[in-house]
Symmetry: none
Subunit: 197 residues, 4 copies
DNA sequence: CATGAATGAGTTTTCATTCAT
DNA sequence: AATGAATGAAAACTCATTCAT
């Protein structure tokens, strides 16, 4: 493993690093981490294989930064939106948030799968996922409390709500089950969430 | 890839095949499919590497049969129990079923992760997972109808219920979030499920 | 690095392992350890690159076994001969031993260089060399004592004698200095050694 | 390989070149030529990797100049001292010279090892080593003759004496053998050398 | 002159699969 | 049928050298 990794300062170098992350993102998302090799990443990014190891310690290092991008793409928009709320109206918040989660999941579901698939065998991915969930839950709960929410077990509820939204998004995106009526399911899910809070 | 694979008929051969599947199960569950090699499987099964290719087309072939075992271990007990019900009493059924799901998940969660992780990159695993979910949902729904359940969107509800139970089991097993009060969460989940039906 | 290495039991496999060691011996001797790659070793040994890693943990593992062969080729014949002595007559022993050292060095000097060159950067080689020197010195000293030698500082003398013989052999083999009259030098060296004991 | 290399004339450039040689010296000495890369040398010298190729044809070019520095550090002081002698008194010269050789070896033994290790695989290093030994031997012999020494085989004796001193220094520096009494060995070595001339 | 980013061939090592015995 | 040695393509990673800026 390379001793030192380069922190690119010139714009061109930053672009290059980002292109590698993007290429990794797409390849990991489409064929999976273990089915992607560094040469493919380099080729897709339009760089040499060597330069990859100037910017990343190793292949896993790319994954870690891809995970950060994923977090920024998928969770941050939702958290940011919640944090800008002025008042609590779950009848309004929940449908809007569910829309967002579904939409963002649609754009990133392959990456979600690819990353989730590594939690079992790659500790750093697992740790990052947990930290991300903790962060999201904590931020949303904090905001709700600051807006006056005062019922018990808020953290558990937020955690569950986020997970159920993801679960539903997952169903929508993959649409694997012919017998499922998604609009109906959506209504059911929103009812569940409404009752939850 | 081997042209023909053997359908073992003698008991000794059946045992051998099963030992390979078991070895695969344990290894895939503990270190993941991509981190396991065929030599390790053969060794753990107490057979030669060559013989593996008499019983399975390739490494993926082992995975497929491991997946079947997983289905039998995890889903079938629950489905069977439901199918033996004489009457519907959700206040009784749901807590009992949740207990079962958590317990079975505890025993098989590593395999769950390992298999789930392959849905993105290995089509056959994805297909099998979907078929399994379809089957479980259909069987439970059918039973409930036969016992007189007549509210709408039953398939969507069953599907959701099963997924939420798994989601909760997953949380319990990994216990990754220090701020979660699991008994409280369990009550919340059971309430959600109770309201669902 | 391979988890396990194979201990070949069949004669064919033993031969193969030996052919790899031999190939390594020749290549390390002629072009040096760092200028030899595993593919070259495999090719010279007439085996595939993969099989090398069945018999050796890694490239360094080959070096270690090559070192053992070197020790057997170069030091053991001399030690064995000393150990078979019935009486001490340095006027007879020293010239004979010097002849042996020169001859063996002539046959193995390239390996000597190659191995010696690694003592600085490869700890295991250094350790083996030291152990070898210790062993040779101890065995010769022990034999001399058993034959009645009773002057002081025997270990220092034996150690020095062995090193000076090697030094002279080295000079003879490489014959790098045009101005050196080797027969004359030999006489001088033998006188030194004779006076030493 | 760079077509042309620069002969630095400005002081700043000379400093830069010397810093590269120094950096190479330290790195080759501590971890060996093959375990050092040009980036490390450049970094340690405080220059860019590119500039290295303005002053040296290639990595080997650095080694060659490092070797010159080594020669200046280790052999020249001893030769110079001999050349300043006014009369021959071996009882005085030999212990003093041995002291010098041991001291200089102590300061440079890592480089000695590193360079010696390359004689087998890098012809230019071998050639330089031989030329150096020839030069040292010739200069010392010439001086002794000019001071009236007239016994035969002087070149052989000087050559041997220098080598034995190095051999002893090497033993002292590494101190690898627990059973060696170094003061006693020193006395033995000095006796040998005294008898030699 | 100087920089350090970039190249890409080369290195070590792994492993699914085959095949001689 | 069974063994496990053998294959060789492919993977991750390194580094001497070049070159755009």
């Amino acid at each position: 493993m390379a001793d030192v990794i380069r922190m690119p300062k010139q714009q061109r170098a930053i672009d290059k690093k980002n292109r590698i992350i993007e290429a990794g993102y797409e390849l990991f998302a489409t064929v999976g981490y273990f089915n992607t090799n560094t040469e493919q990443i380099a080729k897709k990014a339009g760089v040499s294989t060597g330069i990859v190891y100037s910017y990343f310690h190793d292949k896993l290092g790319i994954l870690v930064e891809v995970l950060d991008v994923y977090a920024d793409n998928v969770f941050m928009p939702i958290v940011n939106k919640i944090e800008r709320l002025q008042s609590i109206d779950f009848d309004e918040i929940l449908p809007a948030m569910l829309e967002d989660v579904v939409r963002l999941h649609k754009n990133n579901h392959q990456m979600h799968e690819a990353l989730h698939s590594l939690t079992a065998s790659v500790p750093v991915v697992n740790d990052k996922f947990i930290a991300l969930q903790d962060d999201v839950t904590a931020k949303i709960a904090k905001k709700l409390i600051s807006l006056g929410y005062d019922k018990p077990n808020l953290l558990e509820k937020v955690h569950l709500a986020v997970e159920i939204m993801q679960l539903f998004s997952h169903e929508c995106v993959f649409d694997n089950h012919a017998y499922i009526d998604y609009p109906a399911m959506k209504t059911i899910v929103l009812n569940m969430l409404r009752n939850l809070f």
